[in-house]
Each structure stands twice: as structure tokens, then as C-alpha cells.
Amino acid sequence: MFCSMKNPVQRRYVIRCWIGALLVVLLTLVAALSFRVAHLRGPLMYPMATLPALPIIWVLIETGRYLAEEKDEFQRNVLVQCLLGGIGGTLALTTVWGNLEHFAQVPHLDLILIYAIFWFFAALTYPVVYRRYR
């Protein structure tokens, strides 16, 4: 899958996204084990709890770096539109759900899911953007 990608900037970004995703799963496991099984206490709690968030922040930085390094301005433009669609959808959903939680006591939406929801809406935006330029 990676060899077919001719653009080196794109290839590097996609590979790093996959590594980031794997690291998130791994570090979440490590953190979960330390808290639920080893019952970690004390000041070490905070860095350990933050650990799974670090690859996510890294992927966000890599996305920014990709936007800066990608020479093809059209591809950059498409990605930016997807990201904006992503945050728009995410903010709309969290606001509606937040109000429902506050007033109508619907089940709680975990903050961790917001990152995934963002990429979900970004992916939804892609066909909309693509159709604009067909």
C-alpha cells in the first residue's frame, strides 16, 4: 500500500499516522494495565494517564507538518477543507450531544472519542469536496 504512493511527503505522513495509531493502542493498554491492574497511585499517575494522548498529539503535529511540506497546493486545499469539515461536524455534534446530556440525561460521550469523531467527519467531508472539483 505504501509503495504505490509516489509522493514522498504523503507516504511519510501516512506511515506516521499508522505508527501513531498503533502507539495509541499500545500506550492505552500500558496505561490501562497500570491503573486497573497495578493500581498506580501517587504523582506518577498524571504522566502515565497522559501517555496515550502523546501519539495523538504527535499525529496532529505531523498533520500540520504535512500541510506545510506538501508542494501540491490543490491536495493541500482539499485536506484543509476536510479538516474544516471535520471540526465543524465535531463541534456541532458535541454541542448537540452536550445539551442533550445536560438537559435530557442521554448517555455520556467520552472526551477521548472526540478525536475519532473529528476524523470521521473529515472523512465524510472528502467525497463532498471531491465532487466540487470533478
Partner: protein
């Protein structure tokens, strides 16, 4: 912005992919510019012009913006 890219490409027998490779962009970008749905930046417009040995105004039409 309307342009003569398709004609200029045909004159040289270049596909969109060929042009994309010479410009170091993706084929989708070339298609979007050609169909007038995406305006290239100044550096890319100059690159196009140099490639065809013309001036930017000879490739792109302003057409009452």
C-alpha cells in the same frame, strides 16, 4: 479561471498525468486547474507558463472576475 491548458496539452501530446509529473503535482490538481475549478497560485502559474514557453496571460483568461 478559464484557460487553454487542454489545447496546449494536446499540441504536445501530453496526458494530464504527463503534465502533472512535469509540474510535480497530482493529476487531480491538473484536472481541477484545467476545468477552471481551481486557480493555481502565482508560483504554480509561473511554472506552467515557463513549461509551455508562454506568458501567464496567454494561458489563463481573466473573463470578467
Amino acid at each position: 479561471m478559464k484557460n487553454r491548458l487542454k489545447v496546449l496539452r494536446a499540441e504536445r501530446d501530453w496526458s494530464q498525468a504527463d503534465l502533472a509529473e512535469r509540474l510535480e503535482v497530482s493529476r487531480q490538481s491538473v484536472n481541477a486547474i484545467e476545468t477552471g475549478k481551481f486557480d493555481p497560485s502565482l508560483p504554480l502559474a509561473f511554472k506552467l507558463a515557463r513549461l509551455f514557453g508562454m506568458r501567464i496571460e496567454e494561458i489563463f483568461e481573466e473573463s470578467g472576475q
